[in-house]
């Protein structure tokens, strides 16, 4: 009887044990890689293309009004390291196109960049209606680079008449084009002249639509004398010129060596037509036009003369060039300062806020002449090693283009080439620190998400504010924003902007209260430092996923 009782209890315990074990283990059969909430494959890995240590943002700006040029731009690279410039998808291309006014590219991470092994290339930009632009660039250290490229419009319809002068052996036309250093704070004086001349022997080769215009020198002399008697200009050069060029650091071939110098194109142009006694020259044959330049300013620049861009740098051709065809372009430039530090001092940006930043500083000389622009992208506090800085006293004027930052006072530096320079930045009233966490989901591969290290931009949605550059590292960006506002966040991938939106609207516990766009999810929480973290997950419509995965 007792045995039966014990056995029954054992039986009971045994089955209880088995039932408990099984009930506890039933969920073990669920696949943990299936999302419990959505029933879809779990996003297991979050990856980042953080192996790029140098990013390059190119902005194509209309020199006349400072706006981004949103026409189709064709961009190519030349020079020593042209093949090492790639997209963030790792692609090398012969050319790039964008109609967004800017381009994000990077450098093959296998290429070492240092002061001893600088990265050297030239960017060539062609946009319809604008003068083509070529700029030589030398990078001495890795980091985030921004290049603002100012393009001037072609004045197709605006010919300038240049009236000539003559003697027996030489028909000379001394003419002027006017130009001044751009942004030179009101100094509009001309600093140079350009003159055009033709030898009589060359003039004999010129043809109009009926053939040779003159048979011999005597005929030229007679025609010229008659023109004086009748007050008719003997020779007129119809020029098309452009003057809106911004100075900057460029690579110039000096004595066979490419050097970074402070350089400015003064004028580009071409002889569109030549009229002799009102008759248009249609063919020069072997005849030549001599174009001469002369600097007329007080302070002779280090180098002045005609230049041409070749193999990634500017070649100085001298003060005279010869052209044997019509519509050949010429470029007159000067080297304002040939003493440029390849690597200079350090500039540090400090703040008591947690934020990324994109700060632009325009450098002016002590006469308020624009020199160049420096761009800094990073997170406070961050120190930048300056590179390619003219060795001259300069004033750094920080652009007041970020409403979240209080205006930053200008600093005057005797020599940027050495030393440490501190810049304190404070935030504007009404702005609060947030942390944005972006996760780009891929529609066709839910296993993997992308949290990019990339340059992004934010601004108040539907506002005319300028887009503010932010630095995103592994999908995380510290930003400033106003409460109860809707913001747009965008990043440029393969010449297309990918947009996301988020609100800065939360309950007392930091939970997100704003609406969420389709294909996205937004959640928020309060971080230990009391900031609010806004996590944005979005299925990207762009090729970012297929490019990376």
């Amino acid at each position: 009887m007792k045995n039966n009782f014990v056995l029954n209890r054992v039986n009971l315990f045994a089955w209880m044990f088995v039932i408990i074990t099984f009930s506890g283990c039933s969920e073990y059969l669920n696949n943990p890689l299936i999302d419990k909430e959505t029933g879809e494959d779990l996003n297991l890995l979050i990856i980042d293309f953080n192996f790029f240590s140098t990013s390059m943002t190119y902005k194509f700006i209309d020199a006349a009004d400072g706006s981004l040029i949103t026409q189709e731009a064709n961009i190519s690279f030349s020079g020593l390291n042209k093949n090492d410039i790639i997209t963030f998808a790792g692609e090398k291309k012969d050319g790039f196109q964008t109609s967004m006014g800017q381009l994000e590219l990077t450098i093959d991470p296998n290429v070492l960049i240092s002061e001893n092994t600088p990265f050297e290339f030239a960017i060539n930009v062609n946009i319809d209606g604008y003068n083509s632009l070529s700029k030589g660039i030398q990078i001495q250290n890795e980091g985030k680079k921004t290049y603002e490229l100012y393009l001037s419009k072609i004045n197709n319809d605006e010919e300038t008449d240049v009236i000539g002068d003559i003697n027996f052996s030489l028909i000379k036309s001394a003419v002027q084009s006017s130009s001044s250093l751009l942004k030179s704070a009101g100094d509009e004086d001309k600093h140079y002249t350009i003159s055009f001349s033709v030898n009589a022997a060359d003039l004999l080769q010129f043809e109009d639509e009926n053939g040779k215009m003159f048979l011999n020198i005597d005929e030229i002399k007679e025609a010229y004398n008659n023109s004086i008697l009748e007050s008719i200009p003997f020779i007129v050069f119809k020029l098309i010129s452009s003057f809106d060029f911004v100075p900057g650091i460029e690579l110039v071939n000096i004595d066979g060596v490419n050097r970074s110098v402070l350089f400015q194109i003064l004028e580009t142009g071409l002889v569109n037509r030549v009229l002799i006694l009102g008759e248009e020259v249609v063919k020069l044959n072997d005849g030549k036009i001599l174009i001469s330049s002369n600097y007329t300013g007080d302070n002779l620049p280090a180098i002045f003369g005609f230049t041409e861009f070749e193999s990634g740098s500017w070649n100085i051709l001298g003060s005279e060039i010869v052209q044997d065809e019509l519509k050949q372009s010429f470029t007159l430039a000067n080297v304002i300062e040939d003493s440029v530090c390849e690597t200079g001092g350090n500039i540090s940006f400090h703040s008591n806020m947690i934020s990324s930043f994109s700060i632009d500083a325009d450098l002016y000389d002590l006469n308020n002449n624009y020199v160049t622009t420096m761009n800094f992208k990073g997170n406070f506090p961050e120190t930048f090693l300056l590179e390619n800085i003219p060795q001259m006293p300069l004033i750094a004027k920080f652009r007041n283009n970020n409403p979240a930052f209080a205006p930053i006072p200008s600093i005057e530096i005797e020599d940027f080439c050495s030393g440490n320079f501190e810049v304190e930045v404070s935030k504007s009233e009404d702005y609060i620190e947030y942390q944005i966490v972006l996760k780009a989901l891929c529609e066709d591969n839910p296993d993997i998400a992308i949290a990019p290290t990339y340059n992004a931009e934010i601004r108040l949605k539907n506002s005319d504010d300028l887009w503010q550059g932010i630095t995103m590292t592994g999908g995380v960006a510290n930003v400033l924003g106003m409460q109860n506002q809707e913001y747009e966040l965008r990043l440029l991938w393969d010449s297309e902007w990918e947009y996301s939106t988020y609100f800065t609207k939360f309950d007392a516990d930091g939970n997100y209260l704003g609406p969420v766009e389709e294909g996205a999810s937004v959640v928020s929480k309060i971080l230990e430092d009391r900031r609010i973290q806004i996590s944005v997950e979005k299925i990207f419509s762009q090729s970012i996923c297929s490019d990376l995965i």
């Binding site: 045995n3 014990v6 056995l7 209890r9 054992v10 039986n11 315990f13 045994a14 044990f17 088995v18 074990t21 099984f22 506890g24 283990c25 969920e27 073990y28 059969l29 669920n30 696949n31 943990p32 890689l33 999302d35 419990k36 779990l42 996003n43 890995l45 979050i46 990856i47 980042d48 293309f49 953080n50 192996f51 790639i86 997209t87 998808a89 790792g90 692609e91 090398k92 093959d108 991470p109 296998n110 942390q435 966490v437 996760k439 993997i448 949290a451 592994g474 999908g475 995380v476 973290q533 996590s535 490019d547 995965i549």
Partner: protein, 233 residues
């Protein structure tokens, strides 16, 4: 998944076999006084080790011991065109203190707790370069990762059903087989990663919490244990 099912079935069969064995033993064994101090060794899914056991009477025994298991397994796998070399370092074991309650001479219910040292870890690193577009990313820039798991409770409650029998004329030698589980609580997952995978480990993305939620049902650590012991005095 198939392995998990097989394991559950195995646990069930062992429990059932214990029950049947108990019934068998109930009818064949002869009761003698087994009171005394035993030293033994055991092998289990939570490691191998030794224990000290004191049998107070026919019903209650108290045992304490240590067990440990460390398995290192190297393997390779491919993920998104990257070849990774990985190693699984499976560490478990613990220091336990258990009470066995015998309901028959052979069948017992074991309860107690252990200071658990369960800590499996997978470490890996890319061992091939990554073809990325038109460039090659060296393996060292692709990065490394590690994923480790620890129980929520360092001290884990334990329960098991066991079969014990004595051998020899004086029954100084015993063996036992038991099946049960440690209660670990939802596991804590720790991820570390560099390079390409760095965001997976970034707390800002909360991937550890996501995985912990996905694996939260794995609260029990199944144990199948076989032991032998000899009576010292």
């Amino acid at each position: 998944m198939k392995k998990a099912r097989l394991f559950i079935v195995l646990v069930c069969l062992l429990a059932a076999s214990n029950y049947l064995l108990a019934q068998e033993a109930q009818t064949t064994s002869t009761r003698v006084d087994t009171k005394g101090f035993y030293i033994g060794a055991q092998a289990s899914t939570n490691g191998w080790g030794f224990d000290l056991k004191y049998v107070f009477n026919k019903i209650i025994s108290l045992k304490t011991g240590v067990e440990t298991l460390s398995v290192l397994h190297d393997f390779n796998f491919d993920e998104n065109d990257i070849s990774y070399g990985a190693s699984l370092n499976y560490n478990t074991g613990g220091l336990f203190l258990l009470t066995d309650l015998n309901f028959t001479k052979n069948l017992y219910l074991s309860m107690g707790a252990a200071i658990n040292s369960l800590n499996p870890e997978i470490k890996g690193q890319a061992n091939s370069d990554l073809e990325y577009g038109d460039i090659i990313i060296p393996a060292d820039k692709v990065g490394e990762f590690s994923l480790s798991l620890t129980p929520a409770y360092k001290i884990s409650p334990y329960a098991a059903l066991g079969f014990r029998s004595f051998l020899g004329k004086k029954e100084r030698l015993s063996y036992n087989l038991e099946t049960g589980f440690y209660y670990l609580g939802s596991p804590n997952i720790e991820i570390e990663a560099t390079g390409l995978l760095a965001p997976t480990a970034d707390p800002a993305h909360g991937q550890e919490q996501v995985l912990e939620n996905q694996f939260s049902q794995y609260k029990f650590y199944p144990v199948v244990k076989f032991g032998v012991a000899i009576k010292l005095f």
